[in-house]
Amino acid sequence: MAQGSAIIVIGRRLLQAAPVIVLATFIVFGLLKLLPGDVAVTLAGDNATDERIEEIRRIYGLDRPFLVQYGAWLWKAAHGDLSQSILSGEQVLTSIARCFPHTLLIVAMALTLALIVGIPLGAAAAARPNGLVDRAAMMLASIGIAVPNFWLAMILVSLFALRWNIFPATGATAFSVSPADAINHAILPALALAAGGMAEVARQTRGSLLDVMSSQFVRTLRAKGLKTSTILWRHGLKNVAVNLLTVTGLLFNRLLAATVVVEAVFAIPGMGGLIVHAAIQRDFTVVQGVVFAMVVVVILVNLLTDVLCATVDPRIGR
């Protein structure tokens, strides 16, 4: 019965996601149309006559009313067809399939880094509040949050790539081609992206752990003769796991957005590059497609987070 109800809950959540997708793509579509210039100007090339531009608009249906254009796009998208790029003619789905793995690799690595550095750091800080470790960790965390990731990215490039030549400065290799090479390329971008994440995870871990460690049941555990370290690492961490999962989910979504800048610094052909180029050239089918994909990813991540929270915390759901 528990499993059946879980499936119902997940199904309901997915249904609720549909309006979010429509709203997000509609807003982006509207913003694109509000901007001056359109893709027809680019397509027509330099020195094109107004008649030529008008003709191109007609060919691509850009002269139709705003809502009709959006409706047409949505209708196709609902049937699994994200249309083609107006500029290159490539299927948008194909572009996304090519770019997304690069972005996902960086985000996944950054997230992993943030967690494996942030959680122990936060726990160590919480073990002795206001101790030396705590002060040092929290100062580092403040720096991590304050430093902009594009700046950090450039510093990393100048040190690790240009001066010491340890990692490549730019570019990316597909994971499917050579995993080792792909990871090697992704390390610096992931580091640049992870700094803020590490800081946030450390702070959240520390804060929630301190909350838990001051709760009544910790006194019971001490009265039972448990080691302080057992209480912190076993009971403390499991109790903060729900908080950490939520933070992780949010962090994933934010890192996904932050890749736009970092990808630009490292010249990585990911989702960030794809959407920025398309937006500059008003290639709205590509922009719409990327937004659509991102919204779906975010919704799925949120759903996954909730499901995981329910498995960790016996009080949630069921």
Binding site: Q216, L221, A223, K224, L226, T230
Partner: protein
Amino acid sequence: MSISFAMAGGRQEATRDVTFSVSPGERIGVVGESGCGKTITGLSLLRLLPEDVAHISGRLDFMGVDLATCGQEELRGIRGRRIGMIFQEPMSALDPVFTVGEQIAEGLRAHGNMSRAEARDRALEALRSVGIAAPEKRYHAYPHQLSGGMRQRVMIAGAMVCNPQLLIADEPTTALDVTVQAQILELLRDLSDRGNMALLFITHDLGVVAETCTRMLTMYAGEIVEDADVDAALEHPLHPYTSGLLRALPRLSARRSALPSIPGRVPVLGQMPAGCRFRQRCPFAVDGCERPQALLDAGNGRRVRCWRFGDLALPGVAA
């Protein structure tokens, strides 16, 4: 033993000269108003007060070990294994994300090497011994899935699983229904009888003490004011404060008559009157009460902190 707290504006003495002994199988009720120091006395026995602010002076002798000064590892070996403790609110006193069985078993595993299976069997045994039906099923329950009474039984099972020689119970029944309360009290009494375990029962409920305990310590403003067998204390209290507490008990037979109460309130920390601390609220206060009061021997193992105890014939619980 005295406990003081480092507070803004200097050290404040929370309890003073709390001296008592507990023998095996004895059940001592510690009573007094809120803030009289009974809870921190209980916590201090296991050094559960925050060590950076709370300072314990004096000795806490437990079978030859001074708990006030022994090392952390030695203390840890005594906590849970030789002295158990249970608390008032069993919901918040249990970890919400571990099953109750795991929480009992880990108390066992904290003391000595024990396989998981063995700890599990012992935990099941403990659950059974506190009267939980279907322990195999309850073992896997989370605290929020159990009733208040059931949770307190789980707490007791967790505290009893290592067969401690002393169990400190801090208001264990205050948060429970009256009927459940009676069951828990009976359970504690049984467990103490069965294992010859001493019980230190901290409560403000004199009825609970009368029902459960053999001896009663009355505390007032951080001091022990009376120490006597329960029956003696209830029938012939020697300290005016004990007497006042007893007379303030509501009785079903005396409906509609005004309930006597003790006028005034407990003096706050840092503003303790010199001499007898109860002097300002005491109807029998005379000149001389402002002198320091020692815990006097009143014969038959009784002690009382009132120099006039021989002159006063105080009312106890009306028979």
